[in-house]
Symmetry: C3
Subunit: 160 residues, 3 copies
Amino acid sequence: MTSPHERLRDLGLTLPKPPAPAAAYVQWRIVGIGDGRSLLYVAGQISRDGDQVLSGRCPDQVSIAEAAHRARQCALSVLSQIEAAVGLDNVVEMSQLMGFVLSQDGFGDQPKVMNGASELLIEVLGAAGRHTRAALGTNALPFSATVEIAAVAVVRSPLT
Amino acid sequence: MTSPHERLRDLGLTLPKPPAPAAAYVQWRIVGIGDGRSLLYVAGQISRDGDQVLSGRCPDQVSIAEAAHRARQCALSVLSQIEAAVGLDNVVEMSQLMGFVLSQDGFGDQPKVMNGASELLIEVLGAAGRHTRAALGTNALPFSATVEIAAVAVVRSPLT
Amino acid sequence: MTSPHERLRDLGLTLPKPPAPAAAYVQWRIVGIGDGRSLLYVAGQISRDGDQVLSGRCPDQVSIAEAAHRARQCALSVLSQIEAAVGLDNVVEMSQLMGFVLSQDGFGDQPKVMNGASELLIEVLGAAGRHTRAALGTNALPFSATVEIAAVAVVRSPLT
């Protein structure tokens, strides 16, 4: 069994610096649920490359393939928040992903876009990365980001 | 007290075969919270009739009444996932429904649409089916489905 | 340390009467998670002033500043539901806010709007009010409300 960090290295990926909140909120909160485990709520992570927001609507301004890549960037930001909160080695499972894709009216391939995020989580976390998911479209997102993903994970935590 | 399965039968309803995930995710995850109970996260269920997606925007392409019927189909899919996960008899309560209705700009009757789902849950689960809910509109959903509903339930579970 | 009720008074704020559900659901559900604590799920609260829905799209019909004020009203409704459920003094922390802003295509300042809600929670609850958040846009909300916010809190509860 390789660790999440080894898998990230094997994939040639580096976790981004966990983005600071855009405003008056926090990026994660931990809720003990007993048995040494906690729910970890992760704030909505928008698609970005470093400090630059990856913006534009799918598919008229941003292709499905590129949007899927951006969903993958969101998932990397989710992982970077989890790393900052408790460390990736402490992920028991990803429970829920809520993914929103900036969509042209009538666009219906949000699942293909969100697969960019889903597959990354499984590549990095293995079976622990398997998650429930809602793939949704919307006409407007912060800074016109192409994708925004919020998550709930179960983690081992010294706090409980 | 009749059981959920008896109520389904009395309503003339059959649970659909639990739909397979559209992509790289799972339909439910169970998180033990102690005392023999678990949170059950259920992935977003889109409106469908068997293998066919029930698509179209409310109210210009699909009437409110028909959209409510489709929300009810989503709720049946949620129930079919719970049945597959732990069995309907083990539902302690439905905690949260997040419901998204494919909406024309300016449409504001999402609560009427979502009542199709809410009422079905109460008809089948009784008091355990009473839930918190967010009824939301959106301009785009997977496969242009009319409704998508994600849920969190509390269930009795042998896993905890 | 002042109490949430003292802070509300110092802010010149009065909790609204907790709005009744618009339809077939409940405003909150409590899920024990051990150690005398519970998750409290709060249903989506739309922007309103008393019985009147505060409707209109941002920013063409409602300014960002006014929309932020309406997000603040949503947060007050969230607090009024928590007060009705377990009392504000029993809030351990706000875990998650999901906020939806009725948005013109291309609008991207949802974070500024949602700050109206986020800042209110911190003003009233102090450190316990710090929360994760997803700020999202949408083309359609119930009754064309400007903002809708659903929440999950951790509370001390005699039920667990």
